[in-house]
Amino acid sequence: MAQYAILIYAHDSAHAPDATSADLETCDDHSDELAASDSMLAAYALTPRDMATSVRADAITDGPFLDSKEVVAGFYVIEAPDLDAALAIARTNPVVRDGGGVEVRPVHSSYLKPTAS
């Protein structure tokens, strides 16, 4: 088994601070499905592009790092036996049918701070 990160590219994130549960229904359904399938290791939904701040050596600017039509709206990490299996999971993301897409990247290594119990 190997780990893959799936980066979600959309015009913008649906997860606005004031998003209603109706706004997030498609995303949540997909997330529930993945969690149930046991392949998902972690998932992060990011706030919309207006909340982003970019940092370069000479400046701090408002907005996403790349000025493009799509931004990273969120990402998750899955476990899959091979790339074909990872791509099959990635393809089920609702953003693929909604004008956006996903990028699949093999994970090299990761760190999560152990939570205090």
């Binding site: 036996p81 790339l83 074909d84």
Partner: protein, 429 residues
Amino acid sequence: MTDASEIEAAVADAHRREWAAVLAATVRVTRDLDLAEECVQEAYAAALRRWPAAGLPDNPAAWLTTAARRRAIDAIRHDAALRARLPLLVVPEGDSAEPARGQRAADAEAASARLSEAVPDERLRLIFICCHPALAREAQLALTLRLVCGMGVPDIARAFLVSDPTMAARITRAKKKISVARIPYRIPRAAELGDRLGAVLAVVHLLFTAGHTAPSGPSLVRADLVEQAMHLARMLRELMPDSLDVRGLRALLLVTDARRATRTDADGRLLRLSEQDRSQWDSAALAEAHEEIVGCLRAGPPGRYVLQAAIAALYAQAPSYDQTDWAQIVELYDRLLAVWPSPVVALNRAVPLAMVDGPQTALAEVERLNADGRLSGYQYLHAIRADLLTRLGRAGEAVHAYRQALALTTNEPERAFLVAQIQDLLDPR
């Protein structure tokens, strides 16, 4: 003792015919493309050394496979520690579980013994991994030539007009992605087979096209690429005899290549279809293609390749250019457009359309495609426009269109052809 040149010919023949099968079987043992390649290369070198004294083996492929696998097992045993750190190819079926790192050599031996009896053809795994959609098209082409056809890196580099180090780097990068991203070494499942086979056929077709009319350079044809594409099409036909697309592509390549000898004259000057000597066409290839196309059309609804082959075959079957069945060709183009709505197909349809409904109608169609913009960088759009304008007596506009085609053309014989057309229009004799 056997004659040395006879042995050399036998090894060369086994290289052409069996490379893919020997490599594919060896990859199953090594689970590493580089090591497998090295072992297969050594096995062929060993054949050159041993066969002169020992005589030709009854089954050269089996001899080569055994030799390559034995080397692989030795190498794995020898370098167990080093290899334990390398990412191995993912082989989903057959091997029930990932082998423990320490047991690699023993596992390879067991796999080797088990696979000797295996029936399904391993070459398909190799073809599908080389043409995986996660690899860029140029990497797919290079990997297929290297791993499936056994072509040397310098030859591949020359065929695509890049330097050896550039091509070597391209192949290395693709192999690294295969192992790091874990592109599996398997035949796609039924549900994904259509898409994945489409990529394989596109690679074979592109190789053929790149050879049939070389993108640039002094000669019209790159025979090495054409031959590798024909070889791949034949191999796929043997491995997937039920696929109409595979059979269609094979027929398309047969028909198109049957005209190779007549496409230029003795001086390398490009000849139009109407000027070519039909008696010199490869009639055996045309007959084989015809049988294949008829079989496909009977077997089910024809896809893109079967229809393209049928169109090419109709052009080739006419006793003379003037006796071509233009109306039926237009009809086949309509069916082709329905399954493959490509602007290039629409453009090619304009050629027989001019014969059926006249150059004025065809020109209107080409102008519509020109306005659309997607083909504005496609030299043949301007060349076809120029030809139709010439036939309509609009010489000035025709010269302008030929010049547009010329500016986009890099193949020398094609350039010479266009220059001659312009000269004829400017200076009618």
